[in-house]
Symmetry: none
Subunit: 245 residues, 2 copies
C-alpha cells in the first residue's frame, strides 16, 4: 500500500472542490476582477481537464458563497463586492477580545431590551428552563455552556423577530469560539459561574417584569461581568449604563 493511499484517508479527492478552490484562489488573487466575466463552463472544463458537470458544481458552490453570480444566456461573473463574504470572529490584535465583548454587549443589550417589550409567558418559561438546566449543570460540575447558549437564544426568540433570532444564533456560534479562546487564556474565569448565574437571573427578572431599561442594564452588567471574569475591562461608553441614572 503506497503512502499516497494513506494520505488520501484524510484528503479524499473531490474534483469539484479542487476546481472551486482554484477558482476562488484566482478570484481572491485578482486574476478575475470584480464584475468581470469568467470563462465559459466549456472552457473551464477543458482548462481543468474535467467534465462540465464538475465545473458546474464548483461554480454552484462559489455561487452559494456569493462570490460569483450567473446569468443564463450571458455567462458567469465575479460578484461586484467580493469582500469578506463570510463573517467570522477571530480575535486578532491587542484589542481583539475587548472588541468582541463590546460587540456582544451592544447586540445583547438591544436584544434584551426588545425582549422585555415583547416576551410572553412561553418565552419566559423557556428562559427559566434554560437557567434551571444550568443550575443542574452547576451542581453536577458538568458543562453548562449549552444551557447558557439556550438562555441567550431564548431571549432572542422572545423578540419574535426571526432575523434577530438567526443573527443571535449566528453570533452565538462565533462567540462560543472566542469563549473557548478566552478560557484557555484565563481559566480562572470559568471558576465563578455562580456569579454569572446570578446575573442571568437578574436579566431574566428584568425581562419577565417587562422593564426594557432594566433589561438593557442587566445585559450590560452581565456582559461586563463576563468580560471581567476573563480579565477584560469594558469601557463605560457603550451606552445603557446611564439608563438607570
Amino acid at each position: 500500500m503506497p503512502l499516497e493511499t494513506l494520505s488520501r484517508i484524510h484528503r479524499p479527492p473531490r474534483l469539484s472542490e479542487e476546481v472551486s478552490a482554484e477558482l476562488e484562489a484566482r478570484i481572491q488573487r485578482g486574476d478575475y476582477a470584480p464584475g468581470a466575466q469568467l470563462p465559459t463552463e466549456k472552457v473551464l472544463a477543458e482548462t481543468f481537464g474535467v467534465s462540465r458537470a464538475v465545473v458546474r458544481e464548483a461554480i454552484a458552490r462559489l455561487k452559494a458563497d456569493g462570490l460569483i453570480e450567473t446569468r443564463q444566456g450571458s455567462g458567469a461573473f465575479v460578484a461586484a463586492n467580493p469582500k469578506s463574504l463570510n463573517f467570522r470572529l477571530a480575535p486578532s490584535g491587542e484589542d481583539g477580545l475587548l472588541h468582541i465583548f463590546e460587540l456582544r454587549t451592544m447586540i445583547e443589550a438591544t436584544v434584551a431590551e426588545l425582549a422585555a417589550r415583547r416576551r410572553n409567558d412561553d418565552d419566559i418559561a423557556a428562559m427559566r428552563d434554560a437557567l434551571q438546566r444550568m443550575d443542574a449543570a452547576l451542581a453536577g460540575e458538568i458543562d453548562g455552556s449549552e444551557a447558557d447558549d439556550d438562555f441567550h437564544l431564548a431571549i432572542a426568540a422572545a423578540t419574535h423577530n426571526q432575523y434577530v433570532l438567526r443573527l443571535a444564533e449566528f453570533l452565538g456560534r462565533q462567540f462560543s469560539e472566542s469563549r473557548r479562546i478566552a478560557w484557555v487564556d484565563n481559566p480562572r474565569g470559568m471558576e465563578s459561574p455562580r456569579e454569572a448565574q446570578r446575573e442571568h437571573y437578574a436579566l431574566l427578572d428584568a425581562i419577565a417584569a417587562g422593564n426594557p431599561a432594566a433589561a438593557r442594564q442587566a445585559a450590560h452588567v452581565h456582559l461586563r461581568g463576563a468580560a471581567e471574569r476573563v480579565g477584560i475591562d469594558l469601557p463605560t461608553d457603550l451606552g445603557g449604563n446611564s439608563v438607570g441614572k
Copy 2:
C-alpha cells in the same frame, strides 16, 4: 408579452434553488432529523420531478452551507448541528421585510450611539464626504446607493471597533439585497431620496456633536422613514424613541 414575463423579472425560476429551499425547509422543520440519512438522489429526483443534476446542485448548495454532508457510496446525511450555519436575509413570510427593518434599526441605532461617543475628525470627514457624493448623485439623477452604503459604513468605522465594522459590512450586503426587493415591490420609495438625505444630515450632526442619545434618535427616525418609504410601518417598541422624552 404576457404579464407572467414581467413577474419573472424579480422571480426567475431556478429549479435547483426551489429544490434546495424545499430541502432546507424540511430539515429546519425536522422532517429529516440531525444525523439522519436523506433519501437518495434518485428518489429525490423522482419526488421533485426533476433530473438528478438539479438535485445534485441543490445538495451541493446545502453542503456548502454546512447543512448536510455526503459520503460517496453511503449517502447524504443531515449535519449534526443543522442550525442556520449561514446568516442569510431573505425576506420570507408576511413580516419578512418588517422584521429586517427592525433588525437594521436596532443595529444601526446602537452603532450610531457608540459612533457619537468615539468619532474623531477623520471619521466625520468620511461621513460628510459620503453624503456630499450622495448630493452629487442626487443632482445628477444617478445611483447614489454606493455612497449611501459608504455613509453607513463610515458610521460603523467611527466606533473604532473592527468587529462592529465587519458586522456592518456583512449586514450591509444582506440589506442591499432586501433593498432591491423592496424597490421592485414599491418603486415610489426611491422617488424621495432627498428626504432620506435630510435624515442623513441630521444623523451626521448628532454624531458630530457627540450626542449619543440624539444619534440613536436620528438613526431611528431615518430607519423609520426608510421603512415608510417602502410602505412599512415600524412598531414603536424598538426603543430609542423614548430617549428624547
